[in-house]
Amino acid sequence: MEDTTLNRSFKPGSGLDDRIFDLAVKVFLLLLGLMAIYPLWFVLIASVSNPSDIFLGRVFVIPSGLNTEAYEKLWHTPKIWTGYRNSILYTAVGTFINLAVTLPAAFALSRKALPGRGIISMFFIFTMIFGGGLIPTFMLVRSLHMVDTIWALVIPGALSAFNMIIARSFFEGGIPESIYEAAIIDGASKFQFFFRFALPLSKAMIAVIFLYYALSHWNDYFSALIYIRTPDKQPLTIIISQMVANVDTTLLETMPSEEAYHLLMEKSLMKYAVVFVGALPMILLYPFLQRYLIQGVMLGAVKG
């Protein structure tokens, strides 16, 4: 993998126009980087600040003190824990099913000699062009009695044709026909070859596919909105949206007092903490994921 920041030919400029250019680049990058991180930074500092300080406009860059009240409250909010538990469960089970369905199929389709390969590929690719859409899928899932169960979230999307095609082209390029033939002549069955050679040789691709699937489960909101009814089964995304989205200014309108402001600020303090707690897993995992995310873009670009 090429380092995308590596750039060999550019040294600091010497002429005046080059120095202006370097400065412009520097200013642009600095501004954009700061603007990109500021929303999350503000959420973090606001969540530990004194609510009235936020309201008085005293919190912009550094927190005013270290107020862990909101986090303590969240710690004792069972909903958050339920959300985390459910999201982890759905992501783990869902991603496992995704890989178990996608990888063997992609491997089989990568064998050029397979009779019917073209037709079977078309069978999958067509679903990228046309589909039944939301309502017929919903009716089907409902008639299979999967509504309000984990299965509604992990089975219907078990195969992403796009991810399978990425995996297929990786298997095509990454597992030479000669290795395959040698292994088969040595008496390995096709299953053995898949588990002992094809999978270990494709770790980079599997990491990317894993990440794509896991992210789509972890961040999924819409499927849960449609299929999950019981509060105890809601994933974190739904819980967060319930805790954050309600914009209630009615309190202020009915009794515009100092007290009402204070109540409102306390509520909004919770919201800052909720959003940060929701983003935390991604922020923590991000340093480990970044490399695979970039690789994923490149894999997708090879055959997108």
Partner: protein, 310 residues
Amino acid sequence: MTETTSIPLARKIKIGFLSNWEFYVMLLPAIAVTFVFSYLPMYGLQIAFKTTRLGANYLNGDWIGFDNFIRFFNAGWFGIIMKNTILLSVVSYLITFPFTILLALMIFNSVNKRLAKFTQTFTYLPHLLSSVLVIGILNLFCNGETGLINIMLRLMGQEAISFFGRNDLVLPMYTITNLWQHVGFSAIVYLAALNSIDTSIVESARIDGANKFKVMMKIQIPWILRVIITMLILHMGHILSVSVDKVLLMQTDLNISASEVIATYVYKAGIQGAQYGFASAVGLFNNCINMVMLLLINWLSKRYSETSIF
């Protein structure tokens, strides 16, 4: 030798299938899932042409032809949601797109590698966050009384803005969040293209006295032009796709005439309103346009940029 060639074709095919049976077993789960959850819903689309039946025999409604489609085209919402869908998708893309290219060029041309890394790291991160968090953050910034922007406005003696209560702010909010989420991540493709520039070309241009700005305009941008065109063409296939999660989360009763899009309309009519036939018809209309666009784009890109989607 003569024996193998004399085997009839039908038997040869049979042998081909039998000797590869393991591969078909590997394909089986994928085929089963795709058949049930992609192809059966296509069969289920017939409810778009039928009266709605509730319960297990939902496919048994009476045929009503194109009534549902006609009802949709004649509904007052038709023009509004088509306009909103295209506007949100196209405008947010057209604004994000040049920023993406500019960011890639700036990262690539940065003398300070640590600064480049800093900006890359922070611009990629939002791509991992769910729509719920993105709109949640938007909420915290734009909320009526307690949002940061309104706090600042109040301190400056200005009137607070009701961000989620105004039709004219839906598009800017959607676009800005899109920019935040995707600008860094979309730049990766261009960075990779920039990295493949032959350094000797740049070096000789520098020796000939070209300054860095000229190198960027005359070498780097032309070099990635093909990628730019390919990405533009590919995106045209998604012209009717907006993030349904985001729009749904941004929507309020007050801004609905600017934020109702096809996907949210289908969700409300179908899932919330249980008008299954009608909602399916709207969805089918959307899918047909998407399919035509995708096929058109695929043909175009095969022709002009030597890449194809499929």
